[in-house]
């Protein structure tokens, strides 16, 4: 019994070591090779890594930052775009996986420092210094909530600021559900200004502009840099009693960046601080979201770079990417599945040998599955940074449950007489495993692996949120741009890959499952 426990413990150690050791080793090597220190002989070779969240504005400004850094030429530039939301992209910055990205002062104080009382760039900079980070002065635009009315309404009623809305109770409004709910949205705004309107309805943000322009409502909530603001004939009302928190865009960077690459940092400050106002940002967003420009082209236009006009349209550029993304996706699925099988099989067999420990193990693997995939990916960042490695680790963990559970079920549900017979014949542990248990349980085990494979194809699309590549890249970008074609360009190949993998595994069954057992699970005589 004690021997059994020790063996199982050994299996667990082997499995976990296989999983984490190379990653940790790699982290150590990276940490040694890339000192977060002032300019050294290494500095020239170490790129400036620019990150972005996964929405249009963040992509566009990140591209602008990357291009300026390229023009300075102090260090090569690596683009790590589309890293999900604040949690992931900030995690990447904090763990040193990226050097700089654009965030907003309100987000820095609320989501990162978790102290809304810290306002003002100097105060933020002082607090961030303790974390080894720094911020630039505001770039000019602010991505905050605002209220907008039709120009005609504004002229007719003489509306310029939100306080003036309080006099007009006849107005109707349509607000995004989030804005309607949040205390820094409509509830707080109404109290702050003493507003009263005839009717308020809840409407998806994408539809509110249309509702406003068609005259169905008079008042909507907007983000101050919405691309539509550059096109629609609307007026954004001034927040004259300063209700909305400040969400001024700033560069958020590792404190080492200005020391390591002073010329790059200076250039970024000179060319960006105070240079992008709300209208400019809205225009750039519109160029991408409404005119179908690429982020690169919008950025090049802002920087006045020549040759920006001769660029491939977005969709054709994407079609070219599909081949590369297919390969990336296959690697994500293939490697994580192989790792999951290598770990899951021994874990399942171990669980079958020692029932009590097995139950604990199955529960642990089950709990792993309850963590939302995106959260699991985010948890990997502190340990493995961003990119393929953390994605592979998370996907492998995620694929474990069906493999472990089916292996366990397959081995424990074998006919007792067949198991007894193996004992009477004095088959050794390995002989029993190889000749009897694995072949008899193969149908069930393969079913688990198939389930894991197909699930992984789907889950792997989330890898893009932490820079893992694959079809998810198209889906994440498509979501940011609200571009259904682009989303489908990622989703359809992923679905096809799931089908192909399913068929491939059916063929693999012929190699793995003994002939007499195929199509007749449990047919034991």
């Amino acid at each position: 019994m004690a021997l059994c426990d020790r063996r199982l413990a050994a299996w667990l150690v082997v499995a976990l070591t296989t999983l984490f050791a190379p990653a940790l080793a790699m982290r150590c090597v990276v940490a040694l090779a890339v000192p977060d220190a002032p300019a050294s002989a290494w500095a020239a070779a170490v790129p400036v890594r620019v990150g972005s969240k996964s929405f249009t504005e963040s992509y566009v400004v990140a591209e602008i930052v990357a291009r300026i850094a390229e023009q300075v030429g102090e260090a090569p530039v690596a683009r790590k775009f589309g890293l999900g939301g604040t949690g992931i992209v900030y995690g990447a910055l904090a763990s040193g996986e990226i050097d700089v990205y654009v965030d907003y002062t309100g987000t820095v104080s609320r989501a990162i420092l978790k102290d809304p009382s810290v306002t003002g760039v100097d105060a933020l900079r002082a607090r961030l210094g303790a974390l080894g980070l720094t911020i630039s002065d505001p770039l000019g635009f602010a991505n905050t909530y605002a209220l907008a009315v039709r120009r005609e309404t504004a002229t007719r009623l003489g509306l310029k600021a939100i306080s003036e809305v309080a006099r007009h109770h006849e107005l109707t409004a349509a607000f995004d559900p989030g804005f309607l709910d949040r205390d820094d949205g409509w509830p707080g705004l109404r109290r702050h200004y003493g507003l009263r309107v005839a009717d308020v309805r809840s409407m998806e943000h994408a539809l509110t502009y249309q509702a406003l322009q068609s005259g169905r409502v008079d008042l909507i909530d907007v983000f101050s840099t919405d691309g539509q603001l550059a096109r629609a004939d609307v007026v954004v009302l001034e927040d004259d009693r300063r209700f909305f928190p400040e969400y001024a865009a700033v560069l958020l960077a590792r404190a080492s960046l200005p020391e390591r690459l002073p010329r790059t940092w200076n250039a970024l400050q000179q060319r960006l601080v105070g240079r992008i106002d709300n209208r400019t940002m809205a225009r750039l967003n519109a160029a991408v979201e409404l005119d179908g420009r690429t982020f690169a082209r919008a950025a090049a236009e802002f920087l006045g770079e020549p040759g920006a006009s001769g660029e491939t349209p977005r969709r054709r550029a994407l079609a070219r990417d599909v081949g590369k993304l297919t390969l990336e996706h296959l690697v994500l699925v293939g490697v994580s599945l192989a790792v999951a099988v290598a770990i899951g099989l021994p874990l399942g067999l171990g669980a079958a040998r020692r029932r009590l420990l097995g139950q604990a193990e199955l529960m642990a693997v089950g709990v792993l599955q309850t963590i939302p995939a995106l959260a699991l990916l985010a948890f990997m960042i502190p340990f493995f940074g961003i990119g393929k490695l953390p994605a592979l680790v998370a996907l492998s963990l995620y694929a474990l449950l069906p493999i472990v559970r089916n292996t366990y079920a397959g081995v424990t549900s074998l006919d007792r007489r067949l198991v007894d017979m193996a004992a009477v014949m004095r088959l050794g542990r390995w002989q029993r495993l190889r000749w009897i248990e694995m072949p008899l349980a193969s149908v069930t085990i393969m079913a688990g692996i198939k389930t894991a494979a197909v699930l992984t194809v789907g889950t792997a699309t989330l890898a893009a949120f932490i820079g893992g590549g694959g079809y998810g890249t198209l889906i994440v970008t498509g979501l940011a741009l609200n571009d259904v074609t682009m989303i489908l360009a990622g989703a359809i190949p992923a679905a096809l890959m799931a089908l192909v993998i399913h068929v491939a595994f059916e063929l693999l069954d012929r190699l793995v499952v003994p002939r007499a057992l195929r199509g007749a699970p449990g047919a034991a005589r």
Binding site: D415, R417, L418, D420, M421, A423, V424, M425, R426, L427, G428, Q431, W435, I436, P439, L440, P514, R515, A516, L517, A520, A523, A524, R525
Partner: protein, 248 residues
Amino acid sequence: MIALRDVTKAFDGRVAVEHVSLSVEPGTTRVLLGSTGAGKSTIVRLILGLIRPDSGDVTVDGVRLDPATRGDILRRMGYVVQEGALYPHLTAAGNATLPARAERWTAPRVAARLAALTELVGLERGLLDLYPAELSGGQRQRVGLVRALMLDPAVLLLDEPLGALDPISRAELQTHLVRIFRELRKTVVLVTHDIREAFLFGSTITVLDGGRVVQEGTFGDLARRPAAPFVAEFLRAQAPPPEMSAYL
């Protein structure tokens, strides 16, 4: 010699075998006779060390059966159960030669042994490449017997080996087995609820009821001097009605 001394075994509080003592001399055949649930199979599983007694002990050739001695003792035992308990993913030959391959016999040695045994049990060689699902009940049972005999064990334990066969195959295989056991001079423990089988095989018959030994003796002893009403009832229940005997 196989000996059980005052063995009791319960499963989840339900007694399967209670204070059973019996011994089987080398080279003899012992039949364990009784209804379903009488404890017959439990005794076989105890002798094989697949389960351990709650009290009492099992010895084989004077050695007490425990986890340390079990491997050595099993080396001398062959086991056959109802319908053969063949591995469905292995061919008849694969099943039959498994014990020899586990012992790492050379291929020619395995082949020679397989040829000898298939002839002994009357199994057609052409059937060796078929899977269990493709064999008849009697053929499966013969493969199971070849497997049990593969390492030439001194003891054969047979748990209702013919239970699932049709009457003709059953009678045929019964005759065959009696001859084989006599020729090979094995120590045999055979579990059955069939009195005809008990009569054919058993020099000594142990009758079990509710986990206890009710009577031990030859068929003649049981028939003429039943030790309990159960024994008489059990024999009578399976005897053909007198009117029927007139026709046979």
